[in-house]
Amino acid sequence: MNKVMSNKWMIAIYILPALILIGILIFIPLILTAYYGLMDWDGIGTMEFIGLENYINAVQDVKFWDSAWHSSLLAVFSTLSLGVYLAISMILASKIKGSDLLRKIYLIPMLLSSVAIAQLWIKVFNPQNGVLNQLLLAIGVETPPNWLSDPDIVLYAIFIPILWQYAGFYILIYYAALKNIPESLIEAARIDGATPIQIAYKIKLPLIKGVVKVTVVLAIVGSLKYFDLIYVMTGGGPNGASEVMASYMYKLAFSTNDFGYGSAIGFLLLIITLIVTVIVRKLTADEEELQY
């Protein structure tokens, strides 16, 4: 085996299939998207080169920045919710009764497809027949909100199912990480008189720091490019009140037939996500990697 690996050409041959696939499926479309962004193109007729006009328009497009603001809000909320998930996982990992069952319950939303979740929550949010408003009426709220049609509320209403959808995923990751902490460490701390809260803060948290960092990046990047539930539940409406970057891109490219401009927005979305990822990694960078 060592002999094979010492031959540079063999290494090249081994990584080639994966490289070609990634190249064809990811990098070439990416470059093409950036290229289409330079064109005035409706997706059917001939392309016309217009230089950076699409990108310049996008940077000045109020609707684009509105959608970017909505995406960032989602990123903030997803990151904050990680704290809650971490707390839940700590409780689950501390061998309470029924933790196995609870873990499975939290995981269920992850097993549903996005469209099914969207349909479910559309029903929940229905202003007249929905479970939520029926409940509010029953406990005496006279005019329950119109969750998906009030421009001031819709964005936050739609965040609820989005966060709910991914709760199980993060809880699962944290749970696995917490289970990896050697029991002896916690035992020792307990003998030294540490309270459960001290154990959580001073021992468990530092030990799973690496995992937490990864989830923060996942949550932020995932939020910035989020699309599914928004598209199905409101389509970005009413009047753009719940538009996020990805849904705005889709709308431009496919509903208004402005493929060039849509591509430009798509490429900007990639750039923004890249920049944010780098910043987040820098902020959470750590000189000394903890080991146990």
């Binding site: 229905n126 202003p127 402005d258």
Partner: protein, 432 residues
């Protein structure tokens, strides 16, 4: 030795098949006399549109019988796939000889790219006076017709007679009566009108009717084409009336977040008394066996009322569905045109009696065995003074998107009628 022989044999056989395959194709087209094959693509697969599919098959069979030597090569795709494939075929210049297209905005890029053939000779020749007023215009670009309309839908207010009877209400003929109906219903805790404005074009229908009645039939089209203005007092008033209706609680709550499907189910479950929708929904209120008979019997419709004595109740908001195009680069253009015009002639009566489609060609309802509501609608169409094409279909896709978003904002009381008008003018002026 024998192994080699077998391999050789297999090789030759494969080769033989290959050659024979090629040969067949050549003789295939050669066999049929003059040897003309017209490629035809449509979007009604057997599974989802059984009746449509069967009618098309019948028409093709009849055409082939009448025109010896011409064969129709058929390809069927479902709606979305059809759109995708048409786009791909068009970029490689391989459009079918005859195919289906949607009106105005959808076909414009194809016409500008020189992909569709002019059909003026058919519309002014063989098929003169065949189509309902205003339908071929939807398929015209700069005065030339590029499509033969097959379907036509007009919007009407459908209402639940049972609920109307309960409160002693009658079909309103003026806007004042209409408001009284709404008030009575709202005071009695009923939802007067079901509206699913998440889809946006649903709200646009209301605005369009107000525009039609207050500013006159041509006003909206003129404003879109730049000959008039959305800021005119009449069109601004139309937007204002929309907000008046919203303030009267005429619509179900949260309409901006509900889809048209959800609004429809409210109407069909008798949770709302009225519902403005186009005639593509007619089967639900007449022939569809999945809907309880009792409900179907209780549904009636009325034309949008006049407003302040103005407006013509024979003027409708509506639009054609799909139509036929002939490819500009077709090698058998003459045959393709013959087929398209034959198709339209046959389609009219067959489509309405067998598939419940309101055709864009004129038919005589009295001679056909149809549910009452169909007869009424067809009579309306034959007497129609004007059909204003759906605003979002008329506009280019960019402007349409602004229009639809503005509709949501208008209904949501986020903007004033003046803002609404300004936004339209701005979007339309960017076009030029």
């Amino acid at each position: 030795m024998s192994k080699k022989a077998v391999t050789l044999l297999v090789m030759f056989l494969t080769l033989g098949l290959f050659v024979a395959g090629c040969g067949d194709e050549e003789t295939g087209s050669g066999d049929s006399g003059d040897g003309e094959t017209v490629k035809f693509m449509h979007l009604w697969p057997e599974g989802s549109s059984a009746e449509h599919n069967r009618i098309v098959k019948d028409i093709i069979a009849d055409f082939e019988e009448e025109n010896d030597g011409v064969t129709i090569d058929l390809e069927v795709l479902s709606n979305e796939q059809y759109k995708d494939k048409l786009q791909v075929l068009s970029t490689s210049d391989e459009l079918p000889d005859v195919g289906m297209t949607w009106a105005a905005g959808f076909m414009e890029p194809y016409v500008e790219g020189g992909k569709f053939a002019s059909l003026d000779d058919i519309v002014e020749g063989d098929l003169e006076d065949t189509f309902v007023e205003g339908t071929t215009e939807a398929y015209s670009v700069d005065g030339t017709t590029y499509g033969l309309p097959l379907e036509l839908n007009t919007a009407n207010v459908f209402y639940n007679k049972t609920i109307f009877d309960e409160y002693g209400l009658e079909e309103p003929e003026t806007y004042e009566e209409f408001q009284e109906v709404i008030q009575t219903l709202a005071e009695n805790g009923e939802t007067p009108i079901a509206l699913g404005n998440k889809d946006r074009w649903t709200g646009s229908l209301w605005y369009m009717y107000f525009a039609d009645r207050i500013a006159g039939p041509g006003a909206l089209t003129e404003a879109i084409e730049g000959d008039g203005s959305f800021t005119s007092p009449e069109l601004t008033q139309a937007a204002e009336e929309v907000q008046n209706l919203v303030d009267m609680d005429a619509f179900n709550s949260g309409f901006n977040g509900l889809s048209d499907e959800e609004a429809k189910s409210m109407f069909m479950n008798e949770q709302a008394a009225m519902y403005l929708i186009a005639t593509w929904d007619l089967p639900n209120y007449t022939t569809n066996e999945d809907v309880p008979q009792e409900f179907r019997d209780s549904v009636g419709y009325f034309d949008f009322p006049t407003v302040e004595g103005e407006g013509d109740m024979d003027s409708y908001v509506g639009g054609p569905g799909v139509g036929l195009f002939v490819s500009e680069n077709s090698e058998v253009k003459e045959e393709a045109k013959d087929f398209a015009s034959f198709f339209v002639e046959q389609w009219g009566e067959k489509s309405v009696t067998e598939a419940g489609v309101i055709p864009a060609s004129k038919v005589d309802p009295e001679s056909l065995d149809l549910p009452d509501m169909y007869v009424e609608v067809l009579n309306d169409l034959n007497n129609a003074s004007n059909i204003t094409l759906f605003a979002d279909v008329q506009m280019s896709s960019d402007a349409a998107d602004v229009h639809l978003d503005q509709i949501q904002a208008l209904f949501g009381n986020e903007i004033t009628p003046e803002d609404f008008a300004e936004a339209h003018e701005e979007a339309l002026s960017e076009e030029e």
